[in-house]
Symmetry: C2
């Protein structure tokens, strides 16, 4: 290769950081050809210098303080893989951009919370801020929205954005097991963190959704407006009832932009078995987006892991080397609109409602009355004689209607002596 | 917008050309924001100046000779939507690049036949050659391979690359009708050309496959090495037998790069119903690619039509406006390897074989002997008493083995009095 190497300062040598070092070593020649110049890690920083990461770090300088990477004269680009929305990651990101150096990050939490500030800082210095690895692992969906679909007015996107949840739901589906049981297995296998809340409560998917919505709709990242409900309350019986009705349960992030404002929600959904997302299993991610000219695009692939995430990080580095850059969120930061949060209750759709009730006379009448009084029209009602928690399971599919009516029906039933457990509902993907 | 407009010379005002004019008008402000400057068509050329295309051409200069667009001082970029591998399209492409101007084209035939020459010409003048719209309509799969997956050694790709064939196969599947019947309907609806050979014989898919293989593997476009078999010989009974066995029939382009050379084939396949490609229906396209770090990526969306193709053309124009460019085939043209064609017969896999035979004693024994003598191991054999052409249908699924053995078995049966029709076989997607 003719060009001078692009010199990288790498902060964070966990699974993904080690993956980046391995990729740049294994595919050095190919990367140099595609980038037009070699890409070389010249300095690194991580908590523990001595840990064996299974990769060769010889010839790479060490910095105890990651922020020092930004100041080094021999570092052209900083790769931030430290993680965390604030703290050392944010300090490093600010220092890098303030120094006028390109920043490549996989940090969805930081970008969701501070993306607008960082995009402004990057623009002020005319330097790129790249974060392909922050959403859907190796799937080039940020590039797909920012560049591939750039000619379109995008109005709607949805997808499977958290591999841990999809792994758990797929496993519950395949084995008929309950949530807690499969979560424990996922933790033992390393697919779920010891503290799984970020994943299973939908926070991680919410970070990614906020980034995708900003890119797609030209709005500021608005993680604070994401309504996030995870998969803790999905029980084996929900998955079985859904299957009997022709659906699979998936945790979806859904975002829409319209006259009512910006709607962003992470919630388990029922997905028709004929829909492509019903066939996304394991830790795979998939994102669908609707544009006014392109129609629906679908991007799918591995949502996490060392190899896929390193692939996305190095793709960003190749783009930096080639000068293939532009505003972080597709538009200049000052052109991003501050959208109001839309009222989700105004959305219309069909819904699945599951109740566990006492097995006695009058319970069904009470439920039916609550639905009627809230204006919910019932399409299907299934009662199973034997269910969890000593109660009887009642699964309802509603006709299309406003979601607030479903919420109102559940509100009417709140505190009823007939309920053995808290009811749950899921939107049905159209 | 602050920047000067990017001024376009547009050659070809058919469906796609009119779509580009409409998109640039409808989404002018959004395109200008994403491109950093307005994009404006200043001159156009087409066969018939007077035809009503349903778009406003006022303010756009007219050139009777498309080649004149390349020479105009007020044209910054030429968009070639004339079509055809040679003739006026190629003349215009050469003139544009020789003038040092960026070329954006949707012309898969021209790129498959002359892509290497055009890439060299573009590099010689340091100007971009972009062709996102040439493959899979609005799906940003060229960008996905060239940039999104750029850090990976890619070894295998396959996909549904022709919307017309997928529409026909989906319709045959849904209605149980035969090929000729559905083709006539597709022609009446405008989904298939009056001369449908390019589509249904796999030539169009072969053009696209050759472009994707070059981008993925770093090899020169080698359309001449594509083995193309279309869908003319797929009968309703094949689709019914496939369904009974748990498969759907899809026309796939498959490319692999390995020690044996470059393998490129377009052929109808049996796809397991659990596979994502089995759920791609209608004129949708989908491309799957396997990388050494990223694993499998899937890109899916509308494969043709005015809106999706215009979306891809304008995405390329936005990239040109932003300076987000690089070598046409990801590597410098001189770095692209001239790969030998691999011998498809060495491939191993399972296969579907369908024969229509006379209903008399000894026919099954003759078939079984031919299979045995050719070294083909039979996994499943189904004989249906009543079949097309007055014969009996025999459907066979083989165990995994070399494809040349299946070919040898059919060779042994060639000319047999027992056969009522020419046998056909399809690989089974693993």
């Amino acid at each position: 290769m003719s060009g001078e190497p692009l010199r990288i300062g790498l902060a964070g040598l966990g699974t993904v950081g080690a993956g980046v070092v391995r990729l740049l070593a294994d595919n050095a020649e190919l990367v140099a050809q595609r980038a037009g110049r070699p890409i070389r890690v010249v300095a690194a920083s991580a908590r523990d210098r001595t840990r064996d990461r299974g990769v060769d770090l010889s010839g790479i300088d060490w910095e105890d303080d990651a922020t020092a990477l930004a100041a080094r004269d021999d570092v052209d680009v900083v790769v931030e893989l430290v993680g965390g929305s604030d703290g050392p990651a944010l300090t490093l990101a600010r220092a890098t951009l303030a120094a006028g150096k390109p920043l490549v990050t996989a940090n969805k939490a930081m970008m969701a919370h501070h993306g607008l500030e960082l995009a402004r800082a990057a623009e002020a210095r005319g330097t790129p801020l790249m974060f392909e690895a922050a959403v859907a692992g190796g799937v080039p969906v940020i590039k797909g929205l920012r560049e591939g679909a750039a000619a379109n007015r995008l109005h709607h996107l949805f997808g499977i954005l958290n591999g841990t949840c999809n792994f758990i739901l797929s496993r519950m589906e395949a084995d008929g097991r309950d949530f807690a049981d499969v979560l424990a297995e996922a933790q033992a296998l390393g697919y779920a963190e010891a503290d799984p809340g970020f994943d299973i409560d939908g926070v991680d998917a919410g970070h990614k959704l906020a980034l995708l919505a900003s890119l797609a709709f030209g709005t500021r990242p608005a993680f604070g407006q994401v309504e996030a409900t995870g998969i803790r309350h999905v029980i084996a019986a929900d998955i079985a009832e859904a299957a009997a009705l022709g659906y699979r349960v998936r945790l979806l992030g859904v975002a829409e932009s319209g006259a009512q404002g910006l709607f962003q929600r992470v919630h388990p959904h029922l997905v028709p078995v004929g829909h492509p997302l019903a066939h996304v299993t394991g830790s795979t991610n998939a994102v669908a987006v609707d544009g006014d000219f392109v129609g629906r695009l679908l991007f799918q692939g591995a949502g996490a892991g060392a190899g896929p995430t390193a692939s996305a990080v190095v793709a960003d580095l190749i783009d930096v080397a080639r000068g293939r850059t532009g505003p972080a969120f597709a538009l200049p930061a000052d052109a991003l609109a501050a959208a109001e949060a839309a009222d989700g209750g105004e959305r219309r759709g069909r819904a699945y409602v599951r109740l566990i009730v006492q097995d006695r006379v009058g319970v069904l009448a009470e439920i039916a009355a609550a639905m009627r009084d809230a204006g919910v029209s019932i399409e299907t009602l299934v009662q199973r004689g034997v269910a969890a928690d000593g109660g009887v399971l009642v699964a309802i599919v509603t006709h299309e209607g406003p979601e607030r009516c479903v919420a109102a029906a559940l509100e009417r039933l709140h505190g009823s002596q007939s309920l053995v457990a808290t009811p749950m509902w899921m939107p049905i993907l159209a």
